[in-house]
């Protein structure tokens, strides 16, 4: 605790470790929400992906098959959400909540059925079944951490500099304008939702086979909602959303370090309070500190031609 620089690197690394799944999920959520599809189901997609990453990695003894399975699982959930929201024009929040409930239930049921360990998957072997740090053995800098960091400029570039990005932004604002310009609204939104599935798949894989060594029930623990909050803090823009994710990551990293530390005049800070900090901050910030967050205009509204 004496040398501030000795603390800097581990804290930064811890921040990044915690922030990685948030960043991935937030970028995914950003695509979905920019297209006008609210995604409350980030959490459920991540959870399902985490389960399949761990389960498949344990069975095949390959981390890469685990990642592939995670992406596939998240995409199935994303398609389900797309089907409900785009094709059948259902309520997007209800669909997202349903996705979360389905994931929470199925992962436990399948986990029990396949591995008989009370919903857990077998502990993964560190050498082949997990994603390992690339450069700094103690920092946890596995490939998905770098992927998360790269995903931010990539998202920015796609959204602001490509044809797809222009149409994505347009469909989230005035879908009728996109339709009358001769572009398919459903196909555009499906692509956005599928991209979201890819990102949440990676986020889930990270949690199960990189950050941890296996799946345990409800292991995403609200990170999907924090990612969603980060998208909103970031006003649906990639770099500000990254900033929000890093802030949450830092709070979490600091919370771990602050456990048991005595603050002069206050005494020992209760662990629970520190752990609640990110959530308290979310409430306070959303309640007005970040100013008015202007959502894409057509968000949450199913697109229907007038009849």
């Amino acid at each position: 605790m004496d040398d501030p620089f000795a603390l800097l690197f581990p804290t930064a690394a811890a921040t990044l470790r915690v922030a990685t799944p948030l960043i991935l999920a937030a970028m995914g959520g950003l695509f979905s929400e920019r297209s006008g599809i609210i995604d409350v189901g980030l959490e459920g997609k991540m959870l399902m992906a985490a389960f399949f990453a761990a389960a498949v990695a344990a069975v095949t003894h390959s981390a890469w098959w685990g990642v592939a399975a995670a992406i596939a699982a998240a995409e199935v959930m994303a398609l389900l959400h797309g089907l409900a929201c785009i094709t059948y024009r259902g309520n997007q929040v209800v669909s997202g909540v349903a996705i979360n409930i389905i994931a929470a239930g199925l992962t436990i049921v399948w986990g029990n059925a396949w591995f008989q360990r009370g919903g857990q998957t077998p502990a993964l072997d560190a050498r082949s079944e997990r994603l390992l740090p690339l450069f700094f053995p103690n920092a946890g800098d596995n490939i998905l951490v770098y992927a998360a960091l790269l995903s931010v400029p990539l998202t920015w570039w796609i959204v602001s500099r490509t044809r797809f990005g222009l149409r994505l932004r347009a469909v989230g604002e005035v879908p009728l304008a996109v339709d009358t310009a001769g572009i398919s609204v459903p196909w555009l939104r499906y692509r956005a939702v599928l991209i979201c599935g890819l990102f949440t798949g990676l986020a889930g894989a990270y949690i199960a086979i990189a950050q941890n060594a296996g799946f345990s029930r409800d292991m995403t623990a609200g990170q999907g909602f924090i990612a969603l909050a980060a998208v909103i803090f970031g006003k649906w823009r990639p770099f500000p959303a990254l900033g929000a994710c890093l802030m949450f990551g830092l709070l979490d990293a600091v919370a771990i370090r602050l456990q048991g530390v005595r603050v002069p005049g206050v005494g020992e800070v209760p662990v629970q309070l520190i752990q609640a900090l990110p959530y308290l901050l979310t409430v306070f910030l959303l309640a007005g500190f970040i100013g008015r967050a202007v959502a894409p205009k057509a968000i949450g509204q199913p697109y229907e031609k007038e009849h």
């Binding site: 044809r163 310009a181 031609k305």
Partner: protein, 513 residues
Amino acid sequence: MTAAIALEGIDKSFGSVHAVRGVSLAIEKGAITGIIGENGAGKSTLMSILYGLYHADAGTIRVDGQPVRMDSPHAAIAHGIGMVHQHFMLIDGFTVLENVVLGAEGGPLLAGGLAAARAELERLERDYGLAVDPDARVADLSVGEQQRVEILKVLFRGARILILDEPSAVLTPQETDRLFRILATLKARGVTIVLITHKLREIMAATDRVYVMRQGRMVAERATPDTDAEELAELMVGRKVRLQLEKAPPRRGEVRLEAGHLGLVDARGVRLLDDVSLELRAGEIVGIAGVSGNGQTELLQVLAGIRPPSTGTLTVCGRTIDARHPGDPAEMRDLGLAHVPEDRLRQGMVAAFRASETAILGYHEQPQFNRRFLLSVPAVGAHCARLMERFDVRPQVPGLRSSSFSGGNQQKLVLAREMAQEPKVLLVGQPTRGVDIGAIEFIHRELVRSRDAGCAVLAVSVELDEILSLADRILVMFAGRIVGEVEGGADERTLGLMMAGAKAAPALSGAEG
């Protein structure tokens, strides 16, 4: 000569509504063709079919003589057809350039396409006189400019056939003039134009040939020089219509409503009303003219007691309202102030209610409609039947859902409800929005009758023709202020300039407000 577009036997139903019935028409190349008809006559549906937004149940569409399938706007665009919709299809947060390229980006990356589009816009500006700053955000443009962006979008896609759906609905007279000059230029450059409107004056001024639709059918076709407004109106409605409203000079009585320096600031600090003073006397109709969104809606809300003013005072029949002593609509009703709101579907009625229920909204506590604890259904029904009889609301079925009536009949029902109370002050927002010509005539005559009976009437309308024929005195609103007052029957150009906010600077008359 082959027509640019030929429609043959087009038929379309939405559920039980037969919107378009076996319509055929031919649109001449390089000319301006008008399609006129009342609201609900099927004009817009027909054009949506042509543009691929709806699919016809039967019929053929030919472009340059070849039968084509229009199964999406994409197909229409590919055949050189472009549409400028009544509600602009623009994205507020995008720049003009981004809006123009949307759907025609010219490649997966934006940079190249945007540069090419910029060059193309400069060419279009030179050729057609369509000047708009390509880097301006659409939200910052005037309505007239936004419409030019829509036209640019269509031309950018190489359209040779331009369909405009009620293009003047949101424009000031000056902007409308400018639009028609642009259309004339486009026509001179060989663009085929289809103009959909319900305004007779525009058909007479701009078109070469006109088709008239009524109740889903094409009822007439005329070369514009061979017809006149009276004939077209008769064809549209199916009977003789008097376009000129006849009324005697007003006999003004005491002041019934007085607004002193009213101001209204919303929660974000935007000034919606600024120092509005007016006086409304018994026996006169005061018209509020202005382009939509210049504070008329808010003024009505304040006058009707729906929103308290932030500053200033309002006196209605002796009761004074200000920021500290707000009124409420029920109290205003008790004072003898009736209000026909601008947005009848959201404020004037409950769409899901029966007509008989709509007919007593706001007055449902009157003893005549009630027995001890419950509404008296027979009394309510009888009341509604009387109103329907008196105001010619059709169909005369008090039990029908309010939303099942046409716009004109809904408006007549709401008006009937308010007028039945014989109010001392009557506020009417957009008296004839979405109302067909036959009903317009009726509503105008009723408003004049009510005035002659001594009611003080305040009518807010964005239809200049309506204000000019209805009002004894006209106040013009611009940016939340009253910028001028003229006598009824004033000339349209003067009013138009005031509506554009150019009152103090006549030198600006050529420019856009």
